[in-house]
């Protein structure tokens, strides 16, 4: 089960919320104020089938699977969620249709279903961000069902950097790497390693307040 009582979302988590919801700082702060950080150890359940589902979760690190067991004990995986994905009950509370189990040590932000619903109703920025997030997850799910090759974690990170840059290749302010990584469904380590490789090759330069893409063509070639 979840460890501890949970902590209020801090600045790093607010950056992750802004990156995942694609919303402004004000909306991210509102969400952050309503969210609690939770941790679940590997192989521990976050919820069991039939439990009341009254929360939504934004996964920051690790992963969870939704799995059900048949009458004879056979296991079936319904879904798998990684960094940057949301799951839970929305727009109204319901009950879990599967066991939700952590596949690794997992860090999430939780928010009450009704509270998120109310925030989405009251703030267009949050509502738009939520719909964007859900639409992206539907795409992801369909890609998984279609067994289609998607971009690698590095490829997604490179693409996100390219999309953040202006026409001169400047990204200002410099992005919070952990937030950018989670917004493209990968880990902070993967994002940090990908950026370090770009810096050592001179494809990207880092300054105090910004990043500069030196070679757009080379970065595009790395979107695989």
């Amino acid at each position: 089960m979840m460890h501890g009582r949970g902590q209020k979302a801090g600045p790093e988590q607010v950056s992750a919320i802004a990156a995942c919801f694609g919303c402004g700082d004000e909306a991210a702060r509102l969400l952050g104020n309503a969210m609690i950080e939770r941790q679940v150890a590997r192989r521990m359940p976050l919820a069991l089938r039939g439990d009341p589902a009254t929360m939504m979760f934004l996964l920051l690190e690790g992963g969870v699977v939704a799995e059900i067991f048949g009458i004879e004990g056979q296991q079936a995986q319904l879904a798998r969620h990684g960094p940057g994905e949301i799951f839970g009950a929305y727009p109204r509370p319901s009950s879990y249709r599967a066991d939700i189990v952590a596949t690794a040590d997992t860090r999430l932000l939780s928010i009450g279903t009704l509270e998120l619903s109310a925030l989405a109703y009251a703030h267009a920025d949050i509502g738009a961000g939520l719909s964007r997030l859900l639409a992206r997850q539907l795409d992801l799910l369909l890609d998984r069902m279609a067994a289609r090759i998607g971009l690698s974690a590095n490829g997604r990170f490179h693409k996100a950097l390219l999309e953040l840059a202006d026409q001169d290749g400047i990204i200002m302010p410099a992005p919070v790497i952990s937030a950018l990584a989670v917004s493209v469904h990968t880990t902070r380590e993967t994002g940090s390693r990908a950026l370090a490789a770009l810096l050592r090759r001179g494809i990207v330069e880092r300054y105090d307040d910004r990043l500069r893409i030196v070679s757009r063509r080379m970065l595009e070639e790395l979107i695989v």
Binding site: R42, G63, Q77, R80, G82, T103, A104, D143, R144, A146, A147, R148, I149, G150, L151, S152, A153, G155, E189, R193, R200, R201, G202, I203, V214, S215, R217, M218, I223, V224
Partner: protein, 462 residues
């Protein structure tokens, strides 16, 4: 629906050279005067030239050069222009290559914004000098380029490959390039039964690894030889890449802690110091099959780095004299192997025997007769022996469970005449030296999470 340039590039990367070209033409891109379309055309024609022979090969290289040259006329750019020069040389027209190489030199020397990155600016200059047969200047320029970005190893490797091809084309010795190759990759493995304070074994391992002077080391962190070798790799200044068969707590409980309390803190410290930790399967138990798979994966990663960086891969085995190396995938690769004799100086007490498990290579084939069900093979050699002669789409996975879905999913992404492999299978191919190239295509979701997907070109590594 017309394919996009990204789709066409992906086809080219997958090894479907002719299909990529057909898609390029079908999309109406052949006559398009656009820098991106023209550089893609240059690349596709270059790929086709490499598969052709004789006059056709020369003609395709010439066409490739023309496409790159045209791209450079739309906007002065040293990247397509230096490619145009090299293509002309490979087409057999050294004089034309020299003229363009002179243009490249003028462009790079006259415009400080040319060359994309600081490394490529100087490396492009070096290549132009080489094409102009000004070898000492080219050598000095290449040294200067590497000094500008000493850790841009992937870019250095591209230049080394290109220089080797140019030198081969002009019948010159390429030995001098070796000084620029990065330090070798090292795969390490050895026995568990070494006492934590065995200074003789530790000194021997330290000495041998210091002599190899690796740039990076790959392996697990079991008690004994693994941990001592990993510590030696860190001490030598190389990067350590740890590959475990299961989650660290499970691995530590079964392969570290039972061999003495001194190993646990050393295991933790090495995990902290490692450049990366790869879990072959976070949900797997530590058993003989998952250990074999992780070991194979680590060998594959060492070989992958060596191929990617134009370097060498070496393995070290730390075992008692005369122990037979049964089933070591590295032996199939014919790569360098260092055997270090170490004595067993510690016997673990009451360590439960690990479960056996089984490692399987799953092969799925789609040919004229339709798609076959995935078949499992105990060895890679057996799986490759079952490949059809040519023309079929093939998918290869490597697993320690019976899940055949990934092999089927992979097949959806294989084109006729190509082989796609999961990350685990691609690493096994690299470990055994059975793939000359693996090209990343992206990733696919499986029951274990996402796995990388690779286009595989079979054959001995370069």
């Amino acid at each position: 629906m017309a394919a996009t340039q990204a789709t066409i590039l992906s086809l080219a990367r997958s090894g479907a050279t002719q299909r990529a070209w057909d898609a390029f033409v079908a999309a109406g891109l052949d006559g398009v005067d656009d820098i991106k379309a023209l550089t893609l055309k240059g690349r596709l024609l270059k790929d086709r030239a490499r598969q052709a022979a004789g006059a056709e090969r020369a003609a395709l290289f010439a066409e490739s050069g023309a496409a790159y040259r045209k791209a450079a006329t739309l906007r002065p750019d040293s990247y397509p222009l230096i490619n145009a020069a090299a293509m002309d040389l490979f087409a057999g027209d050294g004089a034309a290559a020299a003229v363009i190489a002179q243009d490249v030199l003028s462009l790079v020397d006259g415009d400080p914004s040319q060359g994309e990155t600081p490394y490529w600016r100087e490396a492009t200059r070096a290549e132009a000098l080489l094409l102009l047969d000004r070898l000492p200047e080219a050598q000095a320029s290449l040294t200067a380029a590497i000094a500008r970005a000493p850790q841009a190893w992937e870019d250095h490797a591209s230049t080394l490959r290109q220089f080797a091809a140019i030198l081969a084309e002009t019948g010159q010795d390429a030995k001098w390039l070796d000084v620029h190759r990065p330090a070798p990759s090292l795969h390490y493995s050895g026995i568990l039964g070494i006492a934590p304070d065995d200074t003789a074994a530790t000194n021997a391992i330290n000495h041998t690894i210091a002599n190899i002077a690796p740039g990076a080391g790959y392996g697990a962190l079991a008690a004994g030889a693994d941990i001592i070798a990993a510590e030696a790799i860190i001490a030598s200044g190389a990067e350590l890449y740890v590959i475990l068969p299961s989650a660290p707590d499970d691995f530590r409980a079964k392969s570290v802690d039972p061999y003495g309390t001194a190993w646990g803190p050393r295991f933790d410290a090495l995990l902290e110091a490692a450049s990366s930790l790869t879990l072959c399967n976070a949900l797997a138990e530590t058993n003989r099959a998952s250990i074999a798979m992780a070991d194979c994966h680590a060998m594959g990663m060492a070989a992958e780095r060596a191929v990617l960086l134009e370097s060498k891969a070496i393995a070290i085995r730390m075992e008692p004299e005369g122990r037979p190396a049964l089933g070591d995938p590295w032996l199939a690769s014919a790569r360098a192997l260092v055997r270090l004799s170490v004595d067993e100086t510690a016997k673990p007490l009451s360590v439960p025997a690990l479960e056996e498990g089984h490692m399987l290579f799953l092969l799925t084939i789609a040919g004229d007769a339709g798609q076959a069900e995935p078949l499992g093979y105990r060895t890679l050699a057996e799986a490759l022996g079952a490949l059809p002669a040519s023309g079929a789409a093939v998918a290869l996975d490597c697993r320690i469970d019976d899940d055949r879905n990934t092999a089927q999913k992979l097949l959806h992404n294989a084109n006729a005449g190509t082989i796609v492999a999961s990350r685990a299978a691609a690493m096994a191919l690299m470990a055994e030296g059975r793939a000359s190239r693996i090209e990343p295509l992206g990733e696919i979701e499986t029951s274990d999470g996402a796995t990388g997907v690779y286009a595989v070109k079979l054959g001995a590594p370069p």
